[in-house]
Amino acid sequence: MSHSAQDTVPAIQTIDVRRVYQARGGRSIGGAQAGKGVTALDGVSLTVQRGEIFGLLGRNGAGKTTLIKILTTLLAPSGGQAYIDGMDVTRDVIKVRQIIAMVSGGEQSGYGILTVREQLWMFAQFYGVPSKVAHARIDELLSAVGLGDQANQKVYALSTGMRQRMNLCRALVSDPEILFLDEPTVGLDVEASRAVREYVRKWMGENPRRTVLLTTHYMFEADELCDHVAVINHGQIVAEGTTDDLKRGLQEHARFQLEMAEWLPAFTEMLRERDGVVDAQTEQRNDRTQLRLALLREEFIVPTIASINEAGGRVLALRRIEPTLEEAFVRLVGDEAESQREGEEAQR
């Protein structure tokens, strides 16, 4: 397949992917006995285009890791189809493995008896990278993630953060096209997490064909890194889009915060009666008044400010209030989780 033809194929595509883990004693294959098992994925359909950092957000047990396992050929789906660069993950296993790599967080993985360089070299061999190329790449990667001085250090002697950075290098030593990061910064301190994020962003910037699928608990991480995100809950995708889409999707109205001088209480009533204004609330802060406006649509802000000026009010500052990705996530997943918990308590 030529590159131009490949470019039209999504980097990752799943169609109605299901995965049922059978209960102990039950048969584990296929979805025929779906009722007897635990459904980890329930019809997940996703498309990730080349060049994207795609975030998959969800609570523990939502199905994020199960999806990554299927996409990386570690686990067979119970139903549906999953493709990597147009190749079926169940049929074209070796071809898929040639272009992917994975890093999981929250684990102490690594052959402790080997040095960092030895471990990376060994994985380069498994991918068929010539030794000379591998060593040059190892030097470059270790230097880029700040582990240049640890190249000849035994893996067991590395800190958690260093080990995770080494694991990132292990995944990148084969120069994969598609990288799966399964909560890569779990358990890392602020500095190590930042180093991982910065390197992922840099790595993506080097080649437009590269793609990352990232799962994370940290909303700021997704907000900072991801072009698109999907929220998964109970094995189903409950929302998908850009991070801005998700945040705005929650907002029924456009919300603004204004710092006002020379404010009269009558202004508030006047605003509430204006077309397009859903709500207006004020709060006194020292010599200023903070006005919070909810408008039907964003474009109503200009005539609203004009009417305030005409009435004699003075706008000192204006800020659009956007929900954070975390608020969006809680609204999508948390409320449902809360009601589920309340339901369980009521049953007891």
């Binding site: 396992k69 570690l74 190749m87 070796i94 493995r97 993985s109 080997l114 498994f126 991918y127 068929g128």
Partner: protein, 296 residues
């Protein structure tokens, strides 16, 4: 990476061949490091010498107690040669499944190895090779110890070296096939994965004639013994070292026939082992057991 998926057939085959060789080499090197990198080289050499010597001394002492200190009886050479050769089984049959379990549960690396484009089977064969070398060293040490200090009747000038070499090469195939099959089973077992290889080698120790002739076994166990390639393998190693007269204690007298049966059972056994391994590999992926941590 792109080239590997889009290259024409012959080039793709060459890339796959190169990768298979690299995988074999890297897996061999990994196992060698795992075996020897835990201490300094001098101490490791000492360990390699002392371990087989003490293991055979235990058997010798037992033999002396039972036989009334007739260390040079006809069965003595049989026992030492069997014990020496059995180190191959211990190292490889029990060792490969343990390496796989350690990769999965101790190092948490099995999943990363598994999702590389290298063939898992080649990775396992690579893990077996250093163990074979270590076992060969132990085999030689035990025999040397037995010949020089215990008077085992091996005349080095009369040893049938071609037969010994052929037996060791075919034996490696049979033993590695068994180890790979058990590695597959270890992947899918929920409990007892660590104990299973020891249990299997223990059972084989009984029925393969490792330290006593299989003619002393009950009839039904003899039938089982004759279906196991290790029985013929041990017999061939003994005949190569001690001479064909040792075959008087074996149901099949002719060495050529023993070799024929050995080759036949090895091929059959390797085929069964391959099928079992593939089924286990498939099942492990179906059940999500490649990266499982049992904690047992």
């Amino acid at each position: 990476m792109i080239e590997a998926t889009t290259a024409p057939g012959n080039l793709r085959a060459r890339i796959a061949g190169t990768r298979a060789w690299q995988t074999l080499r890297a897996a061999t090197w990994l196992e060698w490091q795992s075996r020897g990198n835990w201490t300094n080289p001098l101490l490791y050499c000492l360990y390699l010498i002392v371990r087989p010597m003490t293991a055979s001394l235990v058997l010798v002492l037992m033999y002396w107690v039972v036989s009334g200190a007739h260390a040079h009886g006809g069965i003595f050479g049989f026992l030492i040669c069997g014990a020496a050769a059995w180190t191959f089984v211990e190292q490889i049959v029990a060792g490969i499944p343990q390496a796989v379990l350690a990769d999965r549960e101790e190092y948490a690396m099995l999943k990363y190895v598994y999702i590389t484009p290298s063939r898992f089977l080649i990775f396992l064969i690579g893990r077996a090779l250093p163990r074979m070398l270590i076992a060969f060293f132990a085999f030689a040490i035990t025999l040397g110890f037995g010949i020089t200090l215990l008077g085992v009747p091996v005349d080095l000038r009369a040893v049938n070296y071609p037969l010994l070499l052929a037996a060791l090469v075919f034996g490696f195939i049979a033993i590695t096939a068994l180890g790979i099959m058990l590695a597959g089973l270890a992947l899918v077992l929920k409990r007892g994965a660590y104990q299973m290889p020891q249990a299997v080698t223990g059972a084989l120790y009984l029925v393969s004639g490792a330290i006593f002739p299989i003619v002393v076994l009950p009839g039904w166990l003899q039938t089982i013994a004759l279906g196991v390639p290790l029985t013929y393998w041990l017999e061939l190693v003994r005949r190569a070292l001690l001479g064909s007269h040792i075959g008087e204690q074996f149901p099949i007298a002719d060495t050529g026939a023993v070799f024929g049966w050995f080759a036949l059972t090895t091929v059959a056994f390797a085929a069964v082992a391959y099928v079992v391994f593939r089924i286990c590999d498939y099942q492990a992926r179906e059940r999500g057991q490649i990266d499982r941590t049992t904690g047992y």
